[in-house]
Symmetry: C2
Subunit: 192 residues, 2 copies
């Protein structure tokens, strides 16, 4: 009764592309990617089921866009971890940041690493980690490391971090009461 706001829906949405991505992020965070459908997202934005295809070639391209956003958030988290850490503990802090990011958004992990294979050379979080690790290792060892050694140490450490992120998502494996402390202790088992 007394509908004051007819709220006549304009023909053009005006911000559809961004809204779709944002809703996609939220949906995946809540329910995972499996049950996500373009039609549901379109309806949620009050738009016809074909409208999204004006902005994305297909569902896959849309998910690519969502993936890019998550990747950005992850990279941001790593940058923040880098900035708040001392020089001596960068690598451990980056590890904590990585694990925590996925612990807080478990479904992102599945989504991010389930889609088409990530290219190491263009995946920003790994690029950033490589750079930081290279610098840190050289300082720690006073530049006495070969390139090959740096490569090996970097890979091993990051593999551990990635594996720990997985374990953090499983019930009863890690002590999540103080995840930061737990990760810190676990990463110390690796000689750098």
């Amino acid at each position: 009764m007394c509908a004051k706001k007819p709220e006549v829906k304009p023909y053009h949405h005006g911000n559809l592309k961004e809204e779709l991505i944002e809703n996609g992020l939220k949906y995946i965070d809540k329910y995972g990617v499996e049950s996500l459908s373009m039609r549901k997202l379109a309806e949620a934005s009050g738009v016809s089921s074909a409208a999204p295809y004006a902005h994305f070639k297909n569902k896959d391209a849309f998910l690519d866009a969502v993936q890019d956003h998550i990747t950005e958030n992850l990279t941001d988290a790593l940058h923040k971890a880098f900035e708040r850490s001392t020089e001596r503990e960068v690598l451990i802090e980056l590890g904590k940041g990585y694990v925590t990011f996925f612990y807080e958004n478990p479904l992102y992990y599945q989504f991010l690493f389930t889609r088409r294979n990530i290219d190491i050379n263009t995946f920003p979080p790994y690029q950033f980690y490589s750079e930081v690790a290279s610098v840190a290792l050289k300082k720690m060892h006073e530049k006495k490391l070969t390139k090959e050694t740096i490569r090996k140490k970097t890979i091993t450490m990051w593999a551990t971090v990635h594996g720990l992120a997985r374990f953090a998502l499983m019930d009863g494996v890690l002590n999540t009461d103080d995840l930061d402390k737990e990760i810190g202790q676990l990463l110390c088992s690796i000689e750098v």
Copy 2:
């Protein structure tokens, strides 16, 4: 011409359940789980599209069965790695076995770890690894390890192995010319 084998299709397939699972395994190994459909599998077995539902409650239950088979294969691979290894190098050999298994069947990795969260307590490969690791660590350190230390070392090592398996699937990260050697060297970076 001169069709000698009319090959009258019997009303009952006789081995449908097993054949579906087998074809499912092959399909996932080739194309991944995304494009797998119950109807295609049914057709491949020369059976109507609703027939599989006499054996599986729904697609999810079917994929559970496929997942169980892959898990079994992985567990077998670990057992074999265990048997062919010396006491001193069990942990490294298990790691090699784990990584190699997924390197040879890359799409299994995605499938296995993409579905509903694995329960650490009922996932045979991890159970087996825990037992082996516990025994190995105690021997190495002459029983001077606390339970908590064993837990930490086991988790870290296995996390590294799992992460390395991921890297093995990415182009240009690991040296896959001699993957066994590479994994062996990388795992040595971890103090056990």
